[in-house]
């Protein structure tokens, strides 16, 4: 089972890369809010391991950072580093975005794979991938009282969802010369990268003019 072997290597590395990348974005929220070093740690840890934690709870498997606290340690160290080096890091916003994309891609696919490995169907596995990739950021924005990643129209969740779909499709096809994980990671990273580079966003829902006022609702016949 060459794929399983690959995942045994990929999954922890991906979780680690994502934990650090996500922890950086969490710690940067702490720097914007002027928190103390414990605040940096909380936000780094919540963002870094939050998505994987929810995934593991929902799948009813042991939480990954309880089994092996290396990700937790990485998040805490990241918090300290960002606390010391935040101005340098903050002046490199674009770099942080790309680093975050580099974490998002493998962790989404590893999350999707973990779903499939635990016997979920394709849809649940895709949702697990999206959860792993984005719940940390959602918690970060809730606790840090920032505009939630869900409420922005960036192509972020979309990239994770497309990559997870690609992985599931190619995993089901099981073509001998194509590794589904590589495809999934590439799709996620490419979509997210193009979105960063060209500032893409999906069309938001636009309320028609006639219904645009709060009070217009109730009495409208159709």
């Amino acid at each position: 089972m060459i794929e399983l072997d690959l995942f045994e290597v990929l999954a922890p590395l991906a979780d680690m890369l994502a934990a650090v990348a996500f922890a950086v974005t969490g710690a940067l929220v702490a720097s914007r809010k002027g928190l103390d070093v414990l605040g940096f740690m909380w936000l780094a840890v919540l963002t870094g391991v939050g998505g994987g934690t929810v995934r593991d709870l929902v799948l009813d498997v042991p939480v990954f950072w309880v089994v092996n606290p290396i990700h937790l340690t990485a998040c805490l160290l990241t918090a300290v580093v960002v606390y010391l080096a935040a101005p340098w890091i903050e002046s490199r916003r674009t770099l942080v975005l790309w680093f975050d994309a580099l974490g998002l891609a493998p962790v989404t696919i590893a999350g999707t794979a973990k779903g499939l490995d635990n016997g979920t169907g394709a849809l649940v596995a895709i949702v697990m991938g999206v959860v792993t990739g984005s719940v940390g950021g959602i918690i970060r924005d809730l606790v840090g009282q920032e505009r939630s990643v869900i409420l922005r129209r960036e192509i972020y969740v979309t990239a994770a969802a497309l990559g997870a779909c690609a992985y599931v499709v190619f995993d089901a096809l099981s073509l001998p010369w194509l590794n589904p994980a590589v495809i999934g990671v590439c799709v996620t990273f490419a979509v997210r990268g193009l979105a960063i580079r060209f500032n893409w966003s999906l069309p938001g829902y636009r309320r028609p003019a006639k219904a645009s006022s709060e009070t217009a609702g109730g009495g409208n016949g159709q």
Copy 2:
């Protein structure tokens, strides 16, 4: 065990009705915020399955939508439908409220029953019912940055709590000619329905005049 049989039918139907009803309210928050279709999906799923997910995690039973993703699918489809038809749906706010009440009633009782079935005491079962009925809405309002359903003084949680109590009491009495689930559903729906119809609310805590300023606290004798 006629009741168990009934629940084997009622529970999935109730979860489904509630998932769709709650997903509609989630997707309507997405429409008010002008999100893209992925945002509609996130909010629909969080609202639709959030309460049941927390219930299942706390009860330590497999999460219902991982076992059978039909509710997840329903929430995602609901999100797409609302994305396309939001103006039509938004102009029918009262209908949405009633639809939500129609979801609240059975899902609360099914949640309470799931608690009892898993061997919890009456109080925990009632809390499980309330959690199932209201946590989705709490998460929706947190993530959607709306005024939380808890912070409004609507009779919503109260309706769920009263229905769950009625169910637990009549289940313990086990009167042969009365089905406790039917009573629980009717109580929840009736209380919530009356609250919608007559705009009922419970009395809010009112700070006495002498303590009304933030700074008045410390030095006050009794």
Copy 3:
């Protein structure tokens, strides 16, 4: 195993004291928001048992208030008492702070001990202690839409973290004449108490002047 025996006594008492103390702070948020009695109950329960619930979910052990609903009952009763007596309690803010510190200390150590008892390493156990002590307050502030305890620079999480560290260190040393739990509780309470008494806070991250404007970021060479 004198320590285990002590914890078999200490853990439930600590959970109970903390549940009531935390529930009071939750119910006081409800009073500030003018909620109804159900709102008091929700906030009291979320704050009172939230931290321990997340700890138990992450450790994959049965949730403590499902096993024994005495803490849940205590939170609900606390909510009713605060609803009736809020002005009296609110005028004693300092007392509430000290009462909260009295809950924080043992519950943090009991949480840390529960981690170690379930075979986690030292770091995860410390995080479990901090989670038990502070997640309830985080949820309270999120749902109550107050400034999160994480975003304030009070020494609160720090006190919990230091006490948990002290417990883990002295537990590992296992000196015969020193009870690690007593030391951990004393450290947490002393640090938190000193912070309340002298209004201590850790230094917050201060953005250097040159990077202080949002727009300055992108183009900054270093």
